[in-house]
Symmetry: C2
Subunit: 250 residues, 2 copies
Amino acid sequence: MNIFFIGAGNCTEIILEKMQNCIKKAYLLDYDVEKINFLKEKFHFCIESDFFISDDIDFYVECASVEAVKKYTENIIRNNKNIIILSSGAFSDFDFRNNVENILKNSRSQIFIPSGAIGGIDIINSLKDEINSITIETRKPPLSFNMINTKEELIFYGTAEEAIKNYPKNINVAITLSMAVESFDKVKVKIISDPKIIKNIHKIFIDSKAGKYEIKIENNPSNNPKTSLMAPLSVVGFLKKFNNSIKVGV
Amino acid sequence: MNIFFIGAGNCTEIILEKMQNCIKKAYLLDYDVEKINFLKEKFHFCIESDFFISDDIDFYVECASVEAVKKYTENIIRNNKNIIILSSGAFSDFDFRNNVENILKNSRSQIFIPSGAIGGIDIINSLKDEINSITIETRKPPLSFNMINTKEELIFYGTAEEAIKNYPKNINVAITLSMAVESFDKVKVKIISDPKIIKNIHKIFIDSKAGKYEIKIENNPSNNPKTSLMAPLSVVGFLKKFNNSIKVGV
């Protein structure tokens, strides 16, 4: 399997580590040459590269930023190639989303947005139209907000779209949920500064005509404290599932 | 899209209802002629059928029983056709599982086991090797066990394999979890008779090197009280996701 990685940071390193036995060639694109050299040294199947399109490549994987998604996606899908996107926040931009959806109508491409740092997306995929509302409640220690509150404090409550403007750091999870339920109105975001916790905790509440669901996520951080280990692992999980003849989950 | 349904009961009816606009032909196989006639009357694109293999068919969908899975799967995958299986409990039979895995080595078939009546399988797909253990705790009202306990009572605690022997009715969820984590030892089953509840509640606890996760599921029943609405909806969710160019979740 040949993969073109957009971004050569911590997430890409974890994916390369876990997929060593499945990847033949990994092309790396990053403006930071040091990151590329580090990965080339560690994984000898890595190749520094400018952006290019080739039949040789099975998947493009974006582990960089919302900006990188916006810069490269159109070219990839106009050329009928598949891309896995971690920075799903890019889809909060209506014009970008609309443009991508239009191009996809005449393309054989598929865009995969893995579950990233959260889970329970299979429940949303199953229920879709039956869903009344989804709330994602994120609790972080006060220090994350440069606060010193001793009781829990509600920092933000609003729609996914409002959250993007005010808390762009939390954007990817809210947008992944919105893309899954195919609605930017049904997803509410709650951010709480909580002195009782030391690790971030996400809780997702799904209210639907088919039942009620709650997902609690306590991720350990990766080497980069800003990224949970689960985000790159969700790309690994996707690639392994893609290759398996028996696929479990929606 | 043409679909061959094995089983023409409540689940198939729900899938047909939700997929009316996407299905061109639905072949129905069931030993109960009344069920077939009811669906033929309600959905005019339904055709009564014996089992057959044809290029005309996009998916075989099993909504019948463990026995039906065992009876038809081999023929389907030897002929490179794809099958969606709801009665995942069939895979608790080691010989069947082994046989299927061997045939798949020389087949282009894919077997899809949707999340069924549960969720959070995307978390398991992401974490896979990082998972230490999974516990599924199922709480039911005492009447479900013909009991009259006034305090909650632990009915069963053991591995998925032991649960199968003792509580075959709960088999599918435990086996879906086991197939997802690719281990029959890591999944523990807890069954509780709980007088405080009126609907079944599943809780899934995932303990892993990447973090801790908890999924709480309160399904409403479908018209058939033995089946939750979410099980057939997970097939609908899978088929819709399969047809979408943008796919969310692992």
